[in-house]
């Protein structure tokens, strides 16, 4: 499958946007401007971007506690995202959600979620809605290796497979769930092996290779749009940072493992791939792209900082819809 250089550059830019956004999210968190908890996606950008590049605005996705990357890849507004992290009125959730709860239903981003595996059945319901709509839209479920051991994974995929729902289940196997290595809690090496229990295709893909992810996702999306039902795609990847951005937390992962994966950075890889193709990306263009991304992120920060905090009266609003 060939991905046009334009598209590759777009993907690279999105990946870099995720990275720069999160680098700031971490800083802002450590500075005390961003509250609660921040889980960074850094190192895994190729998954969200590779998958979402195959989707249209009508398609839906759902995310996890590690949600910034999925939001950005689906086209969320950096300003409203950052404002949400800053707890401002202009944020996606009016300051009520924070990092773990960003959603944008307008663009089909059905939300980050503080519950491991909590979104899997929700997006499966969106897949049912898409099937009932009959317009060929699909729904994509992002979830971790840890989530693949939880009941909702099983219940939802079984239903999606039985009903041939247009859902793509994308496991981000970053080998760890907080401080528990996947090999200690996953009875099989490959989450994709579980597809056999539902009679659906299960694919393993290098989750640090955006183009490989794109290719696998394209096939799964086409399969789903054609009424073929769900696919389980396992993306082998890794987070560069600790589980959250809290300063004092333990990280049980071996240094050598971290370094080996850092060397396989998905952004470096895609940039190198483009650079390796005559005329597709020069060092200067790459630097300019990054500068552009940085200024977009800075604009988002400025927007967030300039936005008012919500009024305390708002705590009683939106408990119920009209």
């Amino acid at each position: 499958m060939t991905v046009s250089p334009d598209m590759q550059r777009n993907m690279l830019r999105q990946m870099q946007t995720i990275r720069r956004f999160e680098e700031h999210a971490s800083e802002g968190f450590l500075a005390g401007d961003i509250y609660g908890v921040v889980h960074c996606y850094i190192g895994e950008e190729a998954v969200a971007v590779g998958v979402c590049a195959t989707l249209t605005r009508e398609d839906k996705i759902i995310s996890t506690h590690r949600g910034h990357g999925h939001c950005i890849a689906k086209g969320a507004d950096l300003k409203r995202m950052m404002a949400e992290l800053y707890g401002r009125e202009t944020g996606y959730c009016k300051g009520k959600g924070g990092s773990m709860h960003i959603a944008d239903f307008e663009i089909g981003m059905l939300g980050a979620n503080g519950i491991v595996a909590g979104g899997i059945s929700i997006i499966t319901g969106a897949g049912l809605a898409a099937q009932m709509d009959g317009n060929g839209a699909v729904a994509v479920c992002f979830f971790g290796d840890g989530a693949s051991n939880a009941g909702p994974f099983h219940e939802s995929i079984n239903i999606a497979a039985s009903w041939k729902l247009p859902v793509i289940y994308v496991c981000e196997n970053n080998l760890w769930a907080v401080n528990v290595p996947a090999e200690n809690s996953l009875a099989v090496t490959d989450v994709a092996a579980r597809a056999a229990g539902y009679g659906i295709p299960g694919k393993i893909v290098d989750g640090n290779d955006a183009l490989a992810v794109y290719e696998a996702a394209s096939e799964a999306v086409a399969h789903a749009r054609n009424g073929g039902g769900p696919t389980l795609i396992e993306c082998k990847t890794y987070r560069h940072r600790a589980h959250t951005e809290r300063a004092d937390q333990p990280d049980a992962r071996p240094k050598a493992e971290i370094e080996a994966w850092m060397a396989k950075d998905p952004i470096d890889q895609l940039a190198a791939h483009l650079k390796g193709q005559q005329g597709q990306l020069t060092e200067d263009e790459w630097a300019a792209m990054d500068a552009d991304v940085m200024s977009e992120v800075e604009a988002a920060i400025a927007f967030a900082k300039a936005s008012p905090f919500p009024s305390t009266d708002s705590v009683s609003q939106d408990v119920f819809a009209d």
Binding site: N113, I122, A129
Partner: protein, 319 residues
Amino acid sequence: MPREITYLDAITEAIAEEMRRDEKIFHLSTDAPGALLKEFGPSRVRQTPITESALTGMAIGAAGSGYRPIVDWRLVTFSFVAMDQIVNQAAKIHYMFGGQQKFPILFRTTVGGGTRRAAQHSQSPYSMFMNLAGLRQALPSTPYDVKGLTKAAIRDNNPVVMFESGRLGGLQGEVPDEDYTIPFGQADVKREGTDVTVVALAWLVHEALAAAETLAKEGISVEVIDPRSLVPMDAETIRRSVQKTGRLVVADEAGPTCSAAAEIISLATEDAATFKALQAPPARVCAFQVPIPYAPHLEDHVFPDRNRIIDGIRTVIGS
């Protein structure tokens, strides 16, 4: 033209009428209701695997995508496998996401005992749901009320939990032909009286009415209030009644601890005017705080009934 139909038929009618009106409504449950399945077919009335948690989540996702799902958990027993989706998702999602999307969902579920099916299948845990913010809830006691509240629930743009009393499924009652809804948050005075207020829920409404009838012969005038809707709860109607009668008994099939009955007593006593009017301690006439046993005479012993309500009333009026 009012007709006599059963409580269960009233629910089915409500759902069928709404499904005819709005094709975005569909029904999910592990054993599809025959009448609905027959009329609307298997794509709108879906028989599902035994996965109440997934169904609950799927309803949220479908509601967030423009549908108006109805999920029947069937026995409230089974809602507990879905509790994460109920507590952590359905109740909070509208608020947590800043109100950006509406989630119109009706969750149906049967509560109560009397069926000799022991501890797991005889529960009345509505107060566990009432403790949550973000879910409208009702517990109707008559065919008329259940139809009107079910229709209101389906038209509501929020997740609603409709607690259907298992004991009342076969109860006959008048229901008009015309379309009507009953708004959430309006209690119904099922019988007027002046000496004591009995706030009763579901089956206990009927037991309270029977108790009132018995006591009327002794010249004791009992007012029976049915909150109907649990969230929001119509504190005003209850307080007004207690201010009139000066006495309060709450009758409920659930155990007392942290129950709807405890909430009703708190709503009454913490209100200055009502507190002032209260002439005797309020009383909870509830099930014993135990799991429900199987053997019929044990089960019957655990639940309150008209006789225990009469005893409760006698205590609060000091006779």
